[in-house]
């Protein structure tokens, strides 16, 4: 690709796919922006009219919006915390030589392969159900009142379910990173008199920093848009206690049939996601460069 000719030829060859991708992205975005300025309700077809920023002002002043904003952040941060800490712990355990290592590793990865809806249903009906659930049974075994997770701590329950699904991903990435740590470095630290804890702090954690960054980046992208787990378990309730932005937009569009308001919410979600991405890249982009 050195000469001018080959370079322009290459550009020409790439052009169709670039254009296609651009259209793929621009058209829905433009449509959404367009809808967000319309008074557009599916219950009143043919009544669309220009509404200015009123869709935005309604969406932003809705008390559910702030609840949803908080819930979105709580889900992202909560799940990130559980998966990173738990992932490091599991990776350290799985790195130890043990009997049946191969099978154990496959078992650990399994939750990641289960569809979100299925995982959420399993948790809802088999674990968290206050009558038939496993946790209820354990509570009764100790003579305690069963705890109704989805009714009393809906957000926490969603976080637990989502964290369970993402834990294997974090574990897998961190385990491979852990295995690439040079054996001689660990031995050198041992000779230098570092205890197991110091070796973890000074050697293992810095070595894992890049993998942790990758885990945080990738998971944040997906965790901002958690949806299936909420729809299947709590339906955003009770009230709006477990509604995140994605679910709020869904409720606006398909439960209240307000396409204009939902579009405005979608655009706001896009802007917020970009703000998060910007700070995320600023904060941890440095680790990736090193």
């Amino acid at each position: 690709m050195a000469t001018l000719h080959t370079r322009s030829a290459a550009r020409l060859m790439i052009a169709p796919s670039v254009l296609l991708l651009l259209a793929w992205m621009i058209v829905p975005l433009a449509m959404t922006i367009y809808f967000s300025f319309l008074r557009y309700n599916l219950l009143m077809p043919g009544m669309e009219e220009f509404a200015g920023f009123s869709n935005y002002s309604y969406f932003l002043t809705d008390p559910a919006f702030f609840q949803a904003l908080f819930n979105t952040l709580a889900i992202v941060l909560g799940v990130l915390f559980i998966t990173v800490v738990g992932g490091i712990a599991l990776a350290l355990l799985l790195d130890q030589p043990m009997f049946g290592q191969g099978i154990v590793r496959i078992l650990v990865i399994a939750p990641f392969l289960i569809m979100p809806t299925v995982a959420a249903l399993v948790w809802k009906n088999m674990f968290m159900n206050p009558v038939n659930g496993l946790f209820a049974w354990v509570a009764k075994l100790f003579g305690l009142q069963p705890f109704d997770f989805l009714a009393n701590a809906p957000l926490m329950s969603v976080i637990i379910i989502v964290a369970w699904q993402w834990l294997p991903f974090a574990t897998l990435i961190l385990l491979t990173a852990l295995q690439s740590l040079d054996e001689e470095q660990k031995e050198a630290a041992q000779m230098d008199g570092a205890s197991a804890w110091s070796r973890f702090i000074y050697l293992v954690l810095p070595h894992l920093s890049r993998a942790i960054t990758v885990v945080i980046l990738i998971q944040t992208i997906f965790l901002l848009s958690v949806f299936a787990e909420i729809l299947v378990t709590t339906n955003g309730g009770p009230g709006t206690q477990s509604t995140n932005l994605t679910f709020l937009v869904y409720a606006q569009a398909l439960l209240q049939f307000d396409v204009g308001g939902a579009s405005a919410g979608g655009i706001i979600a896009v802007i917020l996601a970009n703000i998060v991405a910007f700070f995320l890249m600023r904060m941890i982009g440095k680790t990736l460069e090193a």
């Binding site: 031995e187 050198a188 041992q190 000779m191 230098d192 070595h207 090193a290």
Partner: protein, 333 residues
């Protein structure tokens, strides 16, 4: 003080005895080199002394005290690894300071010791760099720096020069020897390169298949090898071994003669042969001569000896320098 004594030390991996049983005494201040072909157990032996592997039997004493069960950090030894094993995310300064920091030394003491070590090793200008910004030789010096700040009873080197290029290797060899002169600390050095062993050691331990073949000073091993293995391993180019009729003339099952102890002539001599390959090094020439009744014999002659491929030459072993071995491969003296 840093004398290390091994009594009956053995190491078994599964059913395979890497080291059947070894007795060895390393005196304080000595530069001891473990040398042998790859897989002879020399690195394992060093790791046993370091405490990075558990012994399967026997006893290791450091300073007269039994250290067999002690963890590596409490043996008071420092190790330099083949890959240097620097901590990649720490600066040179933190790397060198790490063992002191782990020992909870005072901040001022750490600073003083680190700058002392950096001065000795010419690293002062590089203290704030990361290991990946250093060349191979500088990384090696950082690894040595990390080893010396602890003021250990002994240094352990595990093939420290094998990742360096040839020119740098010669330099670092000198630097390590110089360091030994300055510090007068016991050093145990593992290598597969007999040149490193010969040039650096006070005492060479030749290992083969987990057994000690011979222990002695470099010149001892060169002049009086105990057996065929040592004779063939020490010295470059390799000693020539001849058995059968020509050896019987020296009352030996096998006779050995070093290339530098063969006298070459174009007129007459004991063995006649044709020059196969002549390697001209300038100062010396190594000749691979196909001797009629014996096979290929290597000879070393002065660089100005006029000879090329296909020439007819005569070789005469220097009778004083012939090594004789019996049918078990042991030296007859």
């Amino acid at each position: 003080m840093g004398n290390i004594t091994l009594r009956n030390v053995s190491k078994v991996f599964g059913a395979h005895a890497v080291i059947p049983s070894i007795d060895l005494n390393i005196n304080d201040g000595e530069f001891v080199v473990f040398v042998g072909p790859s897989g002879c157990g020399k690195s394992t032996l060093l790791r046993l002394i370091a405490g990075l592997e558990d012994v399967s039997g026997g006893e290791i004493a450091i300073d007269g005290k039994n250290a067999t069960e002690l963890p590596p950090a409490q043996r008071g030894l420092s190790m330099v690894f083949q890959s240097y094993a620097l901590y990649p995310h720490m600066s040179v300064r933190s790397n060198i300071a790490f063992p002191l920091k782990m020992a909870n030394e005072d901040k001022a003491v750490i600073d003083r010791k680190v700058s002392d070590a950096a001065r000795v090793l010419n690293l002062t200008d590089y203290l704030d760099r990361k290991p990946r910004q250093l060349s191979g030789g500088q990384r090696q010096r950082v690894a040595i720096g990390r080893a010396i700040v602890r003021q250990p009873k002994a240094f352990l080197f595990d093939e420290p020069l094998s990742n360096l290029d040839a020119a740098l290797r010669v330099n670092m060899r000198l630097e390590i020897s110089q360091l030994h002169q300055d510090l007068k600390t016991t050093m145990v050095y593992v290598t597969h390169d007999q040149v490193e062993a010969m040039t650096m050691a006070d005492k060479i331990v030749v290992l083969n298949r987990g057994r000690i073949e011979q222990v002695g000073s470099p010149l001892d091993l060169y002049h009086k090898p105990d057996n065929l293995f040592v004779a063939g391993f020490i010295g470059s180019p390799r000693m020539n071994f001849v058995s059968g009729q020509p050896a019987a003339a020296y009352q030996a099952h096998t006779m050995g003669i070093r290339p530098e102890h063969l006298v070459l002539s174009k007129e007459n001599g004991t063995w006649a042969g044709t020059v196969g390959v002549a390697e001209h090094l300038g100062s010396d020439t190594f000749l691979h001569v196909n001797v009629d009744t014996i096979g290929t014999v290597t000879a070393r002659v002065s660089g100005d000896f006029p000879v090329t491929h296909g020439d007819r030459v005569f070789l005469t072993p220097d009778a004083q320098r012939v090594h004789r071995f019996d049918d078990k491969g042991l030296a007859v003296r």
